[in-house]
């Protein structure tokens, strides 16, 4: 592998890992704070991608689609939490699995009814459609770099919100001991709703950003969901920082696995997970 293609694969790994982080961070927060296993989290990624397709077709611009889609995703998340997930906090994991599994079926069929089963493309916005030449034949698309930059900005913002704001303090406290938080007079239900809506919006945003490069297709959420599970397992439940590191590890392992050992590439990430399980069953960054 020469230097230019190595650089391209490295940038791809980074971009893929960061995109996965957007999905996994919401998942790990919902796990950590509410104790809920949400199989439908991958569907939010799928819904985001289809929102990008529908809204870009309607408005003609991905930016307009993002501006409309993110508030829609936030509202959708808050609505779902209020209508369904708020009833699940005291149920056992099995019922959470079942309900969210049912939701996947519902979301996929609604997607099929509303948009159909065809594969669709979404245009890359014109100002980002250029490519940076790296050698005589190889070049790197600007849009992928933009995705990476947006994800990094969001990761920093998320870190800031969680570590430096009052809301973040409440989220961290809820992650630690929800009964105590309630006893201190904090409205934990409001925290739950905010965190859930945030998780949905992050996953949907990942889908919207990915739509122009991955295209939009049925069941696109399930692969992302399972990879996000792997990330949460590696990083440790509830740890956003762990999710970032694990997402980058998976981004690199998956991308380079596809290049170096294509016939086993589907399995490599799971092997990494198995090794981490032997080493630290609670994930790399789980404390205590």
């Amino acid at each position: 592998m020469d230097f230019a293609s190595f650089l391209i694969q490295t940038l791809n790994s980074l971009q893929y890992g960061l995109l996965l982080f957007l999905v996994a961070s919401g998942l790990t927060l919902v796990f950590g704070i509410m104790g809920i296993i949400n199989l439908a989290h991958g569907s939010f990624y799928m819904i985001g991608a289809y929102l990008a397709f529908v809204l870009t077709s309607a408005t003609g611009s991905l930016f307009a689609a993002l501006a409309l889609g993110i508030p829609l995703a936030l509202a959708f998340g808050a609505l779902l939490e209020w209508a369904l997930f708020s009833h699940l906090y005291k149920r056992d994991h099995l019922e959470q699995v079942l309900l969210t599994y049912g939701l996947i079926l519902i979301f996929e069929e609604l997607r099929s009814l509303l948009v159909g089963d065809d594969v669709h493309g979404v245009d890359i916005p014109a100002i980002f459609s250029a490519s940076i030449p790296l050698s005589d034949v190889l070049s790197y698309p600007v849009y992928r770099l933009v995705i990476s930059v947006v994800c990094i900005v969001l990761a920093v913002a998320l870190y800031f919100v969680i570590q430096r704001t009052r809301l973040g303090m409440m989220i961290r406290a809820g992650n630690h001991d929800r009964v105590m938080v309630e006893a201190l007079g904090i409205n934990i239900n409001m925290i739950y709703r905010v965190v859930f809506a945030l998780g949905v919006a992050l996953a949907a945003l990942a889908g919207m950003l990915a739509a122009p490069i991955s295209s939009v297709f049925p069941n696109m959420g399930s692969h992302v969901l399972i990879i996000s599970f792997v990330i949460v397992v590696i990083g440790g439940i509830g740890s956003v920082w762990g999710a970032l590191v694990a997402a980058l590890i998976i981004g690199f392992v998956d991308t380079f696995g596809k290049v170096l050992i294509p016939e086993l590439s589907g399995m490599v990430v799971y092997v990494v997970m198995a090794v981490v399980l032997l080493w630290r069953p609670e994930g790399i960054f789980k404390k205590g």
Binding site: G35, L84, L88, V97, L98, G102, L105, V233, L278
Partner: protein
Amino acid sequence: MRYDLVLKLAAVGGLALVPLSGADFYTELIAKTLVLAIFAMSLDLLVGYTGLVSLGHAAYFGIAAYTVALMSPKYEAASLWLTMPAAVGAAALAALVIGVFVLRTKGIYFIMVTLAFAQMAFYAFHDTPLGGGSDGIYVNMKPTAEIAGFMPFDLDNPTHLYYFILAMLVLVYLFVGRVLQSPFGRVLVGIKSNEHRMQSLGYVTFRYKLAAFALAGGLGGIAGYLYAVVFGFVTPELLSWHQSGNVLLMVILGGMGNLVGAIAGAFAFVAMQEVFSAWTKHWQLAMGLVIVAAVLFLPGGLSAIPARIKRALQGGSAND
């Protein structure tokens, strides 16, 4: 107790009458349902009795199905007596190895990790040419039951196949029931209700859970084997997480920790699938709505309905 036994015998008798009706479509449909019922019972051993929520149980179903497909020569029938133990053994062995990894985790982790390992098995068949890749592989000839020139039954005959599956269902039911009555089974139930207490009583719970995991994998393998024999076609989809989700759904639908419930769950699942898919192409939407409604309004599953009705009929006295 005796009343219970009469009901069960009547149910088996009723199932035994199905092929006599001559309705081939329904015979095959019920054969398929019985296979799924075995699969659901095997998972119930984990979910309902040991308290291990596995979301990757389809892996063992699929591994057994692939074992028979790979062992069958192209133009002649393989031996039932050879392929079945091999398929079940392969499934149990896979469960044993995967169990060593997944049983290091608990709760939500366990759910995610079982799913991830099943996905790994899925890719092992999907991405490699071993079993025909994503296209799958045919089992051209059903295994033969011939042994030393003697042929007790013929699996090519749909009626014989049906009775073979029904017999397997009864055997698995009796076997799992017996296991649960044994000291080993009591330990599993103890682990479900309080693993720490079992540990402080001196049980190495990891070993018991691993044994249960491998056993459930092997029993799931019986179902996978029968599935491959009935349909003669094996694809990676058999290991997909939708398959794992569906069987978990059957167990919960019937009410966990209840073998008859698992069987009822399989019947309810197939019935829903048939009714909804006859009604609309988007039958999964209806299925999803039923699942969501069931979780919200019917905790305890189908097998909790009689108790609920009883409570409703008795009115206030039940609350005393």
